[in-house]
């Protein structure tokens, strides 16, 4: 019997009220967790922690978690932090209050929040999988068995692959410009490093200039306009560190009457980018997907398996506890697979073995 899973969003106010209760309740919960007594699956609470449902990426992530909820026949609760680290932390602290063991799959707001989050989960006796953000020198096995695993994505690999797709499109010879993301953002740095590695292997391609547009579509429009004025007709391709900026660059090209004549690549596979890729006249040729449905579902699967005792966290290898997930370059050939949520049966192998897509250890 499959029960339709629901998602519930805990408001900040309720979370803040519950935070106080969590602080008083956590000491006894921690003692229980010390024994790591196996619990029956129906006792586990499944929780997704994402930034906001206002972006398609996290909405897809939550949908993927709901697919896992369907698979495990459990309800999935979603908490959103709306980019507020304090709010995220107080919500996580509130989770232990019900006394149930919980499995949390969370995208920490910033790297510096990760340690506080995993400590709060450890105190409450829950199990957590973190994604994307963590301090470089902090690993799950340094903290506790309650921090089951950390998943990230290597921007260097995807950066190189999507750059090569761009170079192929312009025939291996020509000049490109690059729009960088927020300059001290780790994925932004890795993606740009991937571009530089691809450039090293492509002697025919010259990077005329790189500028930051801070991941913003309107800034990318402005910067691309300025670069078009500066370099005149020399630009053969545009590389952007996310889809928002790539879409801004396409608007700049459209305003200059160059739409479709200069190929553009981005990252993240947001719906608009996928739709643009479907239409060859747009000039948008490739983006990169981390598969948010997998991130939501498989991340939750790892935390759930730890919570039920199906896996013994202490026996997991370092590579299982901190690994890179796989990414795919999305072009006109495979774009149809990324436009909507996959059917549940396609993700079942990943729910049964969440490490199926591991690309190696994070070092």
């Amino acid at each position: 019997m499959i029960r339709k899973s629901n998602q519930r969003i805990i408001g900040a106010g309720i979370a803040a009220l519950m935070a106080g209760a969590a602080l008083t309740g956590c000491s006894s919960a921690a003692e229980d967790a010390g024994n790591a007594a196996p619990v029956t699956s129906s006792d586990v609470e499944l929780i997704q922690g994402v930034r906001s449902l206002s972006n398609a990426y996290h909405a897809n992530w939550v949908d993927g978690g709901d697919l896992f909820g369907e698979f495990a026949d459990l309800e999935v609760i979603t908490i959103t932090d709306e980019s507020d680290s304090q709010r995220q932390l107080s919500q996580v602290r509130a989770l232990g209050a019900s006394g149930k063991v919980f499995a949390l799959n969370v995208d920490p707001n910033t790297s510096s929040d990760t340690e506080a989050i995993v400590n709060a989960v450890t105190d409450a006796g829950g199990f957590v999988v973190t994604q994307w953000n963590k301090p470089d020198d902090l690993f799950p096995w340094d903290v506790s068995d309650n921090w089951v695993a950390h998943i990230s994505f290597d921007g260097r690999t995807s950066g190189q692959e999507v750059s090569e797709a761009l170079f192929d499109e312009i025939g291996g010879e020509g000049n490109i410009i690059a729009l960088q993301g927020i300059l001290d953002n780790v994925p932004a740095k890795q993606r740009f490093e991937g571009l530089q590695n691809a450039l090293a292997d492509a002697p025919g391609i010259t990077l005329l200039e790189d500028q930051t547009a801070n991941y913003s579509r309107s800034e990318a429009l402005t910067v691309t306009q300025t670069l078009l004025a500066k370099h005149g007709g020399q630009i053969d391709g545009i590389w952007a560190a996310n889809d928002e900026m790539a879409l801004g660059a396409i608007e700049a090209l459209r305003a200059a009457g160059l739409e479709g004549q200069i190929p553009v690549v981005g990252f993240d596979a947001v719906p608009e980018a996928l739709e643009a890729i479907e239409d060859p006249a747009s000039g948008y040729i490739a983006t990169v997907s981390t598969d948010p449905w997998w991130q939501g579902g498989a991340g939750l699967a790892i935390a759930y398996q730890a919570a039920t005792g199906e896996i013994d966290v202490a026996k997991l290898s370092h590579e299982q506890r901190a690994f890179y997930g796989s990414q795919t370059v999305v072009t006109v050939k495979n774009v149809a697979d990324y436009l909507q949520a996959p059917p549940l049966d396609k993700l079942v192998p990943d729910f049964e073995n969440p490490w199926l897509r591991s690309q190696g250890a994070i070092k």
Binding site: S218, L221, E272
Partner: protein, 333 residues
């Protein structure tokens, strides 16, 4: 005794000139920047780049025009980004779009702007009737705006499909960007309101000293609400323009515009404490920021250094133009 023969008007005359020169400080800074960039890269003055500068100037100029009215009162409007986000979505969702079958044409533009006016008026009413400081009311209203926009957005940006409305954002008339022409009209209306109406004139009085204005029988509340309504309206216009320019409505579409426009108004010489300034000054302030952003890229300044250089130039410009006023800028303790 012949020494005393010097005309007593001379120091006053000199002081007046000094004041005029300092008042024109932002303009001098703008001209200096233009000269430096023109020498640094001839492409700066090319017709193509001039056109780009005008189109980049447009949206911040629209916002800054309305914001000037609020800052002149000694208030602040931090709701701009939220209002713009809501307006962009109201506009796109009521114009021909890929989400629903509504297609109101110009009606969508009006609704988008009215959404801004409504939120601006609400800012004013809450500020005046409930005595909540403007930064707090508008911060809250900004969050409400982002919230409404997020609900309307529903996880995916609706796209604008009406080609006529799209051309407002990306098209040209006689080689000049349409959005710039609209911005000039907004600025002209703003100037006329400020120069020739009670809303404008009493704005200076209230900003100068609200207590005295009240004692003189000025209906302070009414004019304050009007100023916030103007600020909301221009943010609404900006939301519609940015939606038409990028062809989508989105809660994140307005990111960065708040900082740019407040900086522009202050750089132009409108005091944060109110009572002194004007929309034409804000035009100069916006131009400085846009020219700086464009010029630094044309000069090939590294991305990593650019932000710091921008900050330095802004601080230097504020010191140079505001030195004389330093005791009057009482917010800086």
């Amino acid at each position: 005794m012949t020494h005393t023969a010097a005309p007593p008007t001379a120091p006053r005359f000199a002081a007046a000139w000094k004041r005029r020169l300092l008042d024109g400080g932002p303009l001098v800074a703008l001209v200096a920047l233009i000269l430096i960039f023109a020498v640094g890269n001839p492409a700066f003055l090319s017709p193509g780049n001039m056109g780009i500068l005008l189109s980049q100037l447009a949206i911040p100029l629209v916002i800054a025009t309305g914001l000037t009215f609020v800052i002149l009162l000694g208030g602040i409007d931090l709701s701009i980004e939220g209002v713009m986000a809501t307006s962009s979505l109201v506009f796109v969702l009521t114009a021909a779009n890929d989400r629903n079958d509504i297609s109101l044409g110009v009606g969508a533009v009006v609704l988008g702007i009215l959404a801004g006016t409504a939120m601006g008026t609400a800012n004013g009413v809450l500020n005046v009737r409930f005595g909540i400081p403007s930064f707090m009311v508008t911060l809250g209203m900004g969050a409400i705006g982002i919230g409404i926009a997020t609900v309307l957005f529903g996880g995916r940006s609706p796209r604008l499909l009406d080609p006529a409305l799209k051309s407002i954002g990306t098209g040209n008339t006689f080689g000049i960007a349409n959005i710039f022409l609209i911005a000039v009209i907004v600025l002209a209306i703003g100037y006329l309101i400020q120069r020739f109406t009670k809303i404008g004139r009493y704005g200076y009085v209230i900003g100068g000293d609200e207590g005295i204005a009240k004692l003189s029988g000025v209906k302070v509340s009414r004019y304050k609400i009007a100023a916030f309504a103007i600020g909301g309206t221009t943010a609404g216009i900006a939301g519609v323009l940015v939606g038409a320019q990028l062809g989508v409505g989105s809660p994140t579409i307005s990111q960065g515009f708040l900082f740019t426009s407040i900086t522009a108004v202050v750089l132009g010489g409108t005091l944060l404490t109110g009572g002194r300034g004007g929309v034409i000054r804000s035009l100069v302030g916006v131009a400085i920021i846009i020219v700086l952003g464009n010029g630094l890229i044309l000069m090939g300044v590294d991305s990593y250094v650019q932000i710091a250089v921008q900050g330095l130039v802004i601080i230097a410009a504020v010191i140079a133009t505001g030195w004389r006023l330093r005791t009057r800028v009482r917010v800086i303790k």
